[in-house]
């Protein structure tokens, strides 16, 4: 009974090269009317090419012996001798041939993992350099364009407790008396006089050092009326502010209301 027959796979393929042709041979199976199919492809081919023979002695033409080729073989039955209900054998082990010699594998296979590794490392390196430059740029950005300081930090409680009302804040924190509202001109002057008085009080408490070209006298009236600059020793810890002919010494505890 020949139906459902499956021949065994061919083994021990041998190759004989002659210029651009190769003859593949193997041991014939002890049955007649079989077809020996040899498939081959180079590293540049995507599909297998096939050639059959009634014996395991098949010659393929038009091959380039310099290229690396893959070869495999199997056995099929002739339908007219065994019917249509048979199976081809399994493929033999793939053999590699280049320049008439047996190879463990074709070069492309060897390069492939190395190529992937190199590409992966380059990609990793590029990403790392990108991240590093990004971090540096951010730092530089912070250095060149510092963010605007939040007044909340300089004046604690100004916005939370006094809703931005600086006078209220001053009153609360610096123990400054509230200035009563009078005529507009007098209002303009009164705060200055008050300021002068306040400055006097402040200066009495702590030493004032000015960093400006001139420093006002400690007497407040003389400071407001005397237009000519008076040379004196600069006080410590304060800045000199000149405004409309008037000169003021500013400390950390003083402020100017215009």
């Amino acid at each position: 009974i020949s139906a459902y027959l499956k021949p065994s796979s061919p083994e021990d393929l041998s190759f004989r090269w002659h210029e651009d042709a190769v003859t593949v041979t193997c041991s014939d199976l002890p049955y007649k009317r079989l077809l020996y199919e040899i498939q081959y492809k180079s590293v540049f081919d995507t599909e297998w090419q096939s050639k059959e023979g009634e014996t395991c002695n098949v010659t393929m033409q038009g091959l380039d012996s310099e290229k690396c080729y893959f070869f495999r073989a199997r056995v099929k039955t002739l339908e007219s001798s065994y019917g249509s209900d048979t199976y081809p054998s399994d493929w033999s082990k793939v053999t590699h041939q280049q320049r008439g010699e047996l190879r463990d594998s074709c070069q492309e296979k060897k390069l492939f993992p190395k190529f992937i590794l190199i590409c992966g490392m380059i990609a990793l390196l590029t990403v790392s350099l990108l991240l590093l430059s990004l971090w540096k740029v951010r730092r530089l950005h912070k250095c060149l364009m510092p963010s605007v300081p939040d007044p909340k930090l300089t004046f604690p409680g100004l916005f939370e407790l006094h809703r931005g009302n600086f006078q209220e804040w001053i009153k609360d924190t610096q123990n400054v008396s509230h200035v009563a509202k009078t005529e507009a001109t007098e209002q303009e002057c009164v705060p200055e006089e008050t300021l002068v008085v306040q400055l006097q009080k402040a200066e009495a408490e702590m030493p004032i050092v000015t960093t400006g070209p001139s420093c006002p006298p400690t007497e407040g009236e003389e400071a407001s009326r005397d237009a000519s600059p008076v040379a004196c020793q600069p006080p410590q810890g304060g800045e000199v502010v000149s405004l409309g002919g008037f000169t003021f010494v500013m400390t950390d505890n003083s402020y100017m209301l215009l």
């Binding site: 020949s2 139906a3 007649k32 009317r33 002739l78 007219s80 001798s81 065994y82 019917g83 209900d85």
Partner: protein
Amino acid sequence: ILPDALLFVLSVFFRKIFILQLVGLVLTYNFTDCDFEKIRKKYQEVIYQALNKYMNGVKSTEFNNYIYCEDPPDCLAKIDLITFYPTHGCTTLAKEIFAIRTNATLTLQCPGYSGTQINNTQAKKKRKKRQVTTNKCRKQVSHLMELWRRFSRISKQ
């Protein structure tokens, strides 16, 4: 006197016919001297396709093909018998294309094989319309295919 003479003639006539038929039965063709390789090639090239076409897609494995031939002459003898001699349910396959090709191949490759056997048989019988392919005939042909396959496997290359 006439009835005796008539009886004598008739008995001689029927005796001869009987003897001839007996001789025909006994002296079947011996396929030993055929060119088996050429017959095998002809089978692969032309006869196989005709048999397949007759079966029309029906697989031979659907029938119980327990048929066997010992050697190439035995295979050809059985092929000859099934192809050209009628059986119950399938009177004759001799008119089919595969049969005509088989006859031509055997006539050409077997010295002394007489293809006229078929012609004589057909000439004597009435002309029939091409009989409808019955399951019985398909079974016959599947046996034929099995014999041909066996023949192609065992014939020397």
